[in-house]
Symmetry: C2
Subunit: 222 residues, 2 copies
């Protein structure tokens, strides 16, 4: 659901090195729920999220969904892909992204552009690191631990804000953690009863963390 395009936009300096290196980025806005790209489609672009959030997921043949990652403002998307996308990407709130031709990026790699090559490798490595932690959570944690670990990670990635606004719905959290919405809801209620956090506002999407160390205890992480 394309809304607006601005080509050849100058790149501000708060972005990461990779973005700075490549001069020609375009902007694109996606409404909540719209699709950036689908699994098995040719991967023509790389993306950087300016504002909003994106989920990437795979499906089993019978429709079960597993969200591989949430991508927040500042995150890159589809850098690690080969010729085709290995997952589907959808905006989970209204989202602004910058995108650039993959061809252009890989042309730089082919020319031996060392800084760009290093940043691509770093981005892929960080993605892998997150995937490895995700595997640990999915394989060996109980539902309460999963939700605690999820909140901790989100809190960290959002730079520990006073009020953490969840961009995703309960069913997204559930499909990220390999659970059901009901279990996610029960775990959140349980942590709230422990006074580890409290909800702010009525939609139960805004969370105020009261005790990060207690939350870390509940997560039982390494």
């Amino acid at each position: 659901m394309l809304i607006r395009v601005e080509t050849a936009k100058a790149v501000p300096n708060q972005l990461n090195e990779l973005a700075r290196q490549d001069a020609l980025w375009s902007e694109l806005k996606y409404r909540c729920g719209s699709t950036l790209f689908r699994e098995a489609e040719p991967a023509d672009y790389v993306y950087q999220i300016r504002e909003g959030a994106v989920r990437t997921y795979k499906r089993l043949s019978d429709g079960r969904r597993q969200i591989g990652a949430f991508h927040l403002a500042g995150d890159m998307l589809a850098v690690e892909n080969c010729e085709t996308h290995r997952c589907t990407a959808e905006a989970i709130v209204d989202t602004t992204v910058w995108f650039a031709k993959r061809r252009r990026l890989f042309a730089r790699l082919a020319k031996g552009d060392i800084p760009v090559a290093n940043h691509v490798r770093e981005l892929v490595t960080r993605t892998l690191e997150r995937a490895e932690n995700h595997i640990l959570v999915l394989g060996r944690q109980k539902s309460l631990e999963k939700v605690a670990a999820f909140l901790l990670e989100l809190d960290r990635r959002l730079k520990q804000p006073d009020v953490m606004v969840l961009p995703m719905r309960r069913c997204d959290i559930a499909d990220y953690l390999g659970m059901t919405v009901e279990s996610v809801s029960r775990a959140l209620s349980s942590l709230q009863e422990e006074r580890i956090f409290s909800f702010k506002g009525s939609a139960h999407r805004e969370i105020v963390l009261h005790d990060r160390s207690k939350l870390a205890q509940r997560a039982t992480l390494a």
Copy 2:
């Protein structure tokens, strides 16, 4: 448990491009159960498995273990690591590896060695791809589907041999799939009762696949 070292060994050509690029590899043998490296240790070497098999895993603070991957003959290890290893690696059978200084590898990257840079990126990308599939299995599959998917993957990686010899024990499979040994054993028994495969030999480590398409059905993969 170091047994033998041979330095400055010539690299035969059946290895991948990365191995061919770097001239100076040394050989090392590990007994079953011994440790190649531990989580959080400085990552000084990259490894390639010549013969045998290796498991890499993380642990939760209370000891629960999650195996992130099995590495078989031909696979590279620790290419994707940063300064320190993010997981522990242990030989699960007697294993021969070649190893090389990471410093030397990254010196080539710094010089703008394009072929080496591309192969490193490809290796990391393949590792990530496997992790993504692993996430799908861990998050959204039932125990029988997990074991079926595991057997399919191993069969594929071993090039569909007549007799598939499992290098790992049941508890390794369990910790890879986020299950218990008992559940793994029950799933295997169930698939065997369906005549999808049969055990050969008494240790129940050798498997003869009879019906790969039926196994794929049981795995319900994408």
